[in-house]
Amino acid sequence: MKLNELTAHELLDLLKEKKTTPREILDAVLARIQATDAQIRAYVRLRSNAAAQEFSNGSATPIPIGIKDNICVTGEPATCCSRILEGFKPPYDATVIQKLKESGAYLIGSTNMDEFAFGSSTENSCYGPTRNPWNKDCVPGGSSGGSAAAVAAREAIWALGSDTGGSIRQPASFCGVVGLKPTYGRVSRYGLIAFASSLDQIGPITRDVEDCALLLGIIAGYDERDSTSADLPVPDYTRALVNDVKGLKIGIPGEYFVEGIDPQVRAAIGAAIEVLKQRGATFHEISLPHTEYAIAAYYIVATAEASSNLARYDGVQYGLRRQPAGTRKTPLVDMYEETRDAGLGNEAKRRIMLGTYSLSSGYYDDYYLKGLKVRTLIKQDFDKAFLKLDAIITPTAPTTAFKIGEKADNPLSMYLSDVYTISANLSGIPAISIPCGFSKERLPIGLQILAKPFDEAMLFRIAYTYEQNTPWHKERVSL
């Protein structure tokens, strides 16, 4: 088997036994990208000095990793796949990048995404769409579609994504890989180019649960540069990797299994529940009564924050600057308008307008404030549920991957594909998506597990047990 087909933990074992070298692993990954990425377009750019990479002996984890294009690496472009950040090279490393560099990781390059993470299909990228490695007519999901596709296509051993409303979990589900949105505050956001600051988290996208636990262990932890990061110790997540769910109480929220769910997805989740039941977990019907308001609240809160976070792209300091030929208003206002018109895509403009509207005087109480209140109610739903439960299981997405272009003209139906994932962002709790089967069209289906704040170990335990008793994570794309 080629090295790029192996998981990080398998590669670490080989490295420990001196059966391979970091250079061989990197070369295998780069060769794969060379061979297949023209079809997939998972990457928007490879790191400039790939060949010159030197590996120091004794690095803990010299594993090549794909990085979503919204995470800052010193001296490398970071564009969020937006024209407006054309030419911007951050002079600093994101905290997760610093930690990865310390672990000896090789940063392969930047993976494709929806512009500023606005989307669920990776079609809203100024570089064009990424294709789903399982079916190239389909989207890989989004917004971290490039990272998920790279991992699924074996073009990266693992990758980092970011998740504001499902942007790690939904593409993981569509691409048949593992994706984790950590608890809000578990991973530093310093150096993650913000979409919605109170919802964004960086998280791992991996081939299996063990890799996911390893990678979270590397990137998690308190960061004094991020006031919203939690000052809590990071447990050794690999200790949670036990094939045992006996006695665990798992909830199934009725609100997540209603109309709109693909019957094949429903069946796959039902089968997954049976697997865990057989391993000794007990399942309980529960209600999360405010679920139906989650999408509305999410699109108010997220777009409000986004409208403010994106205000800095004004053409003054960095990135794109456009000045129209004649003066229309004032040279300054002309530059703002021309720059933002040329630099931002339609979805970005749509969200900036939505967010600006809901924060405007006269509308704030009806929209933004109400959104915050719903958010609190959704969090309380989970708090209440977790008084009696260890975890909750749902589908990650109502459907499998849809066709490229299928929802491009219908933003609302695109927004609905986040219906199962956004509650975890609104409430801050951790959630993981793992492969749990395939549709008859051979598109992957994802299972989502949610747990209490900072109980990622519970997610790993349940996911690992499921994985040990099912074959899905071993399935491979053929390219």
Binding site: C72, Y190, S197, R225, R312, D314
Partner: protein, 487 residues
Amino acid sequence: MSQTVQQKYETVIGLEVHLQLSTRTKIFCGCANVFGREPNTQTCPVCLGLPGTLPVLNKMALEYALKIAIALDCQINSVIKFDRKNYYYPDLPKGYQISQYDKPVAYDGHVWMTGADGQERKINIKRAHLEEDAGKLIHDERANCSLVDYNRTGTPLLEIVSEPELRSPQEAYDYLQALKLTLEYLRVSDCDMEKGSLRCDANVSIREAGAKTFGTKTELKNMNSFKAVRTALEFEEKRQREAAASGGRVIQETRLWSEEKGITIAMRSKEEAHDYRYFPEPDLVPFDIDEALIEELRRSIPELPRQKFERFTGEYRLSGYDARIIVADQHIAHFFEACAKLYADTKKICNWLNGPLLQELNARKMGFSGIKITPEDLIAIMRKVDQSELSNLAAKETLKQVLDTGKDVASVIRDAGLAQVSDSPALEGIVDELIHEHQTVVGQIREGKASAIGFLVGQAMRKSQGKANPKMIGEIIQRKLSGKSNA
């Protein structure tokens, strides 16, 4: 303006003071908080607002704000939070300013001020909130472009908002002086309007005398000194009164003070005003202000001007006039207290401090901090006058030279030969010369015109270059001319 217009209207003024806090580093990053460096040398990714960076609150900025809140007798919110104020301007790198909206550090405080009539008045403070300063635009006329200097970006600001309780431009000026003095005592800011470390916007309106509701206000900006605040307000007060008196009306707008033209100019109307779309800053968590911290800060607050005034008029029995001058500069106050430990006659110390010493400093355009004269020096000079070792004139000269050179009093007197001549033979010689030169005056004295003695004493001082002991000269003249002399 006619007398009737004067009396018909009442002016209502509220001030917003933006105070740069003199913390070591900026409010949300580790950059040095310094003034006057080369453009764009005191910046980092955080204060430049580069994508992906996050703010972290500087604890010292919060502590300074709390100190001010305590000193102004404010209520302090037990939980404070930050909000984003959204607007576009090239000096604002994030497209929003991190400020505080509904949970400011402090609210409901007050400033005690003394009016021109000597009466004390309490002006209420509505709120005080922390925020970050913006950068500075530099317009290059020749190159027809604007440049941005981000050094100032992220300097901690405390905005102190007064209630609209000021009733005249002079009162606004007095309030600003009183506020500034308290802030100076706290050592939390340079309070220098010319350098922009203290900036002031004014809301001003007029209404019919005795009315309960407020008139339409204008907001004045761009006043760069305390005097400019007063002058701009005087202009605006007159403009509004005249508009009202001639049947026009005041429109709600922001107006810029033009120092060169001496007028206020309309900048933007209410319709053009920004909708700042405030919302909670998601990158910063709310902060609990704990009681122990407030207590700790309360203990660290020095004696404030008003308490010092009370103490100086009581403990040292200073007149209100003297105490006010001394308290108006904490360096003078310290100097005074050091002197008072060495010398019992505090009135005399005041006379020296508020007289010759301040005059000399004013002549040199010097402040009181870092001066070369010590309290010991001043008392030494005063004692030498008491002991007739220095004439008043020579004492002032000594003071001057100590100020200039920093040398000790004894060496200044010795090196400049300022010691008072009380040596009889020398003085008798001078008097003999004078009697010889001024026969007419001598005649008047002999006829009993005592005041003429003064003239001769003056001449003696001149001859001795101020060094003669005037008391002895007088005695010698009297002795010689009363015929009791054995000369």
